[in-house]
Symmetry: C2
C-alpha cells in the first residue's frame, strides 16, 4: 500500500517463514524487506520513512513532521492492541493455511507466546470480537471526524491499521469486524485504494 | 499548554461546573472556552486548530496536515481509553474537592454514567491501575522511539494526553502512574515545559 501510495512499481516476492533467512544474505528475520537498487531496507515503518525521504516528489506518506511522529503511536496501537487481539482470534486459521514446512516453526513459537496449544487459543473468539470492537473505539471516533486516519486521504498510518485487518481477512474466514461497524466502512474504502490492490488479495 | 506553546499571554478564568452557563452568554456547556478579541471558540481541539490557523508565525501545535489528522486519533484514545479508566480511579476524589454547590450535579451525572454510587466506583482502583498500565502500552512504545508523542518536541497531541493525567494529578492523591513507568518520565518532562506551568499547579 505504501509503495502504491508513492506510485512506485515493484516486484513483490512472497516468502514462507522458512525462507525469510534466504533474503538478501540472511540478515533479516522478518518481512517486509525492500530492495531498491543497492539499498536494502527492512521493517515497514523504516521502509515508509525511506520512501518519503527518497521520493519527496511523490505523495507523502506522513504529511509533515507531526504526522511522522504520531504514526509511531498508531503503529504502537496497531501492534500492541489490535494485532494482539486479532492474533488470538485467528492464529489456528493462520497456521492451517501455511505451507507444511512452516507449520512446526509457527506452532512452536505461537504456542510459546500464548502459553497454550493453538487449538485452544481461538475458541472464545466470539467473545474476543466484542473486546476488539471496544478497542476500536478511538479509531471509530477518528472516522467520525474524517474519512481516513490521515485526514481527507489515507496516509501510512491508515496502511498500518489496514495491514493488520487485511492480514485477518486473507488468512481467516472469521469476520473480526462487524458489518455495522464504521471501521468496516473505512476498511472497505482502503480495499478500494490504488486501483483496488487490497481487494485483489483473495479473502480466506 | 497549547496557549503557552504558541507563546500567547492569557488571562485564565477558572469556573465551577455551576458557572459554565454564565460564560459568554451561556452558549457553552463545557470548558475550555477561548475568548480572543471578538472571537469565541469552545472545545480544546477546536481552540488548537484556531490558534494554529490564527497564529501561523508561532510554533505549530500540529506540524503539518498529517499531525493534525492523527491528533484526532490520539484525542479519541485519550478520551475513550485513558479518561474512562482514570475516571473510575478518582471520581470520588474529584467530587470531594469540588465546591459544595457543584457536588449534587457532579454526583448525579457521574453516578448515572457509572451506574453506581461514587463511593463504589473507585474501590478497586489498585486493580484498575494495572489495566491502565496495560492500556498505556502504545504510548510507552512511542516514547521508546522518541521523547514526545509529537516527536523531538511536544505537540498538541502531547497536551491532550498530558491534560488527562494532569487532571488526575491535581484532583486525586492516588498515583495513577507507577514511578518506574517510562510514561511517568514523559509526564514529568511535560510538567516542566513552558517554564513549568504544569508543575505550578499543586498536586492533590
Amino acid at each position: 500500500m505504501a509503495l502504491a501510495h508513492k506510485g512506485l512499481d515493484i516486484d513483490a516476492i512472497p516468502v514462507c517463514f522458512s525462507d525469510i533467512r534466504t533474503i538478501e544474505g540472511g540478515r533479516h528475520s522478518t518481512v517486509p524487506v525492500l530492495v531498491d537498487g543497492d539499498r536494502v531496507v527492512a521493517d515497514s515503518f523504516d521502509i515508509a520513512l525511506y520512501l518519503d525521504e527518497g521520493y519527496p516528489d511523490r505523495p507523502s506518506l506522513f504529511k509533515g513532521e507531526g504526522g511522522q511522529a504520531m504514526a509511531r503511536f498508531i503503529e504502537g496501537w496497531a501492534n500492541l492492541v489490535l494485532n494482539l487481539q486479532i492474533s488470538r482470534m485467528i492464529v489456528k486459521d493462520v497456521h492451517d493455511i501455511l505451507e507444511e514446512r512452516d507449520k512446526p516453526y509457527f506452532r512452536e513459537t505461537r504456542e510459546k507466546r500464548f502459553g497454550t496449544v493453538l487449538e485452544a487459543v481461538q475458541v472464545d473468539r466470539e467473545t474476543r470480537r466484542e473486546l476488539l470492537r471496544e478497542s476500536l473505539a478511538p479509531l471509530r471516533r477518528t472516522l467520525h471526524m474524517q474519512p481516513f486516519i490521515g485526514g481527507e486521504g489515507p496516509l501510512f498510518a491508515d496502511y498500518i491499521v489496514f495491514g493488520t485487518l487485511q492480514w485477518a481477512r486473507v488468512t481467516s474466514p472469521f469476520a473480526v469486524l462487524a458489518d455495522d461497524d464504521p471501521v468496516k466502512d473505512w476498511f472497505t474504502r482502503c480495499l478500494a485504494l490504488h486501483d483496488g490492490i487490497g481487494a485483489m488479495q483473495a479473502a480466506a
